[in-house]
């Protein structure tokens, strides 16, 4: 399937939000304390809300009369455009909030830049999402510092989470023709240009959390190109089960 760059770009944003929202919702009923369970569920709902707006917009751009539900529940894994980072399993609470931090710090930069997009719909979605994302950054950064600079046990666990997740953050900033076309058209920001601002947010928090940031390697995941890890298929099986089994079901 080939998408226009505009549609491709919106789907990347939509799928990042949708898949991370789905992952976070897995914590419902399992979080360490009730207060944090609600916090994670709130964040999941924010993300799914963002993805609904973005998928609806993507459906209009596609012009094939597909709505948000059809795009969310009836695409297969190679048609998803989220970065691999958001589809990885949650791991423990530390890894979950660390990923939230790494992703939301990135999303915050994206939304800020998109507020001036020539795509008015996208600009409006960005304006709404920015407020939500600011809270996600605050919530997750707070936990990263607490766990990193906490006990020996919590430090060890969140350091190993950082070692696991860090290589996947490189994908956020890999150069890409879609990005360049979108930036040239004034529709959006090239993600690769956001790396310095992202690092300015991320590194001080990781430092305060006394965590060692791994060096960059040549590894590049390619989820946003539709080449996903084994984990996305399992996630979609669960997320899409109802619509696949009872097509068109509504409630």
């Amino acid at each position: 399937m080939t998408y226009t760059p505009h549609l491709e770009y919106v789907l990347r944003l939509a799928d990042n939000a949708l898949i991370l929202g789905q992952r976070l919702s897995e914590w419902t009923g399992h979080a360490p304390v009730l207060e944090e369970e609600l916090a994670l569920a709130n964040i999941a709902l924010d993300l799914i809300g963002q993805s609904r707006l973005l998928l609806t917009h993507a459906g209009r751009l596609e012009g094939a009369r597909r709505d948000e539900d059809q795009l969310a529940f009836l695409r297969s894994d190679h048609q998803f455009r989220n970065v691999t980072l958001v589809e990885l399993p949650n791991g423990d609470f530390g890894r979950t909030v660390l990923r939230n931090f790494l992703v939301s710090a990135f999303q915050r930069e994206v939304w800020q830049a998109l507020e001036s997009s020539r795509d008015r719909e996208l600009a409006a979605i960005a304006e709404k999402s920015l407020k939500e994302t600011r809270y996600h950054v605050k919530h997750s950064a707070d936990w990263v510092i607490r766990l990193g600079d906490g006990t020996d046990g919590s430090h060890l666990r969140i350091q190993s989470a950082l070692d696991y997740l860090w290589p996947y953050t490189a994908e956020l900033f890999t150069e890409n023709p879609v990005d360049n076309e979108i930036a040239a058209a004034g529709l959006g920001v090239a993600w690769s240009s956001l790396e310095p601002a992202w690092e300015n947010t991320v590194r001080p928090v990781l430092m305060e959390a006394t965590l060692a940031v791994p060096a960059r390697t040549a590894f590049r995941s390619r989820g946003k190109l539709g080449l996903h890890s084994e984990y996305l298929g399992h996630l979609l099986t669960e997320m899409q089960h109802l619509q696949r089994t009872h097509p068109g079901a509504q409630w």
Partner: protein
């Protein structure tokens, strides 16, 4: 490893500017910053508030329920303390 319960915080929410903070419940949290975050996530999901206070529950000192007779009953027969005895001019609204 020692497992300690997080302390309890009482949560007060101001629903609109100009109104008072009202007690609405409690959360467990290790410190005030997280207590505020928890309170935000637990109690303001449905646009309930514009401002939150949290207070450590053990910092609140309550009156003794057994002392009700001497604390509150003496006010029962002093109805003249209610403002209904004063005639208000018509121009004064909302008293």
């Amino acid at each position: 490893m020692e497992k300690k319960e997080w302390p309890l915080w009482e949560v007060f929410i101001r629903s609109r500017n100009g109104l008072d903070h009202k007690h609405c419940g409690s959360v467990h949290a290790p410190d005030s910053a997280l207590a505020l975050q928890c309170a935000r996530d637990v109690y303001t999901r449905r646009q309930e508030g514009v401002s939150i206070w949290v207070v450590r529950a053990d910092h609140i000192h309550a009156s003794d329920p057994d002392a009700k007779p001497e604390m509150f009953d003496p006010a029962d027969d002093k109805i003249y303390r209610h403002p209904t005895f004063y005639k208000l001019p018509d121009e004064v609204d909302h008293m």
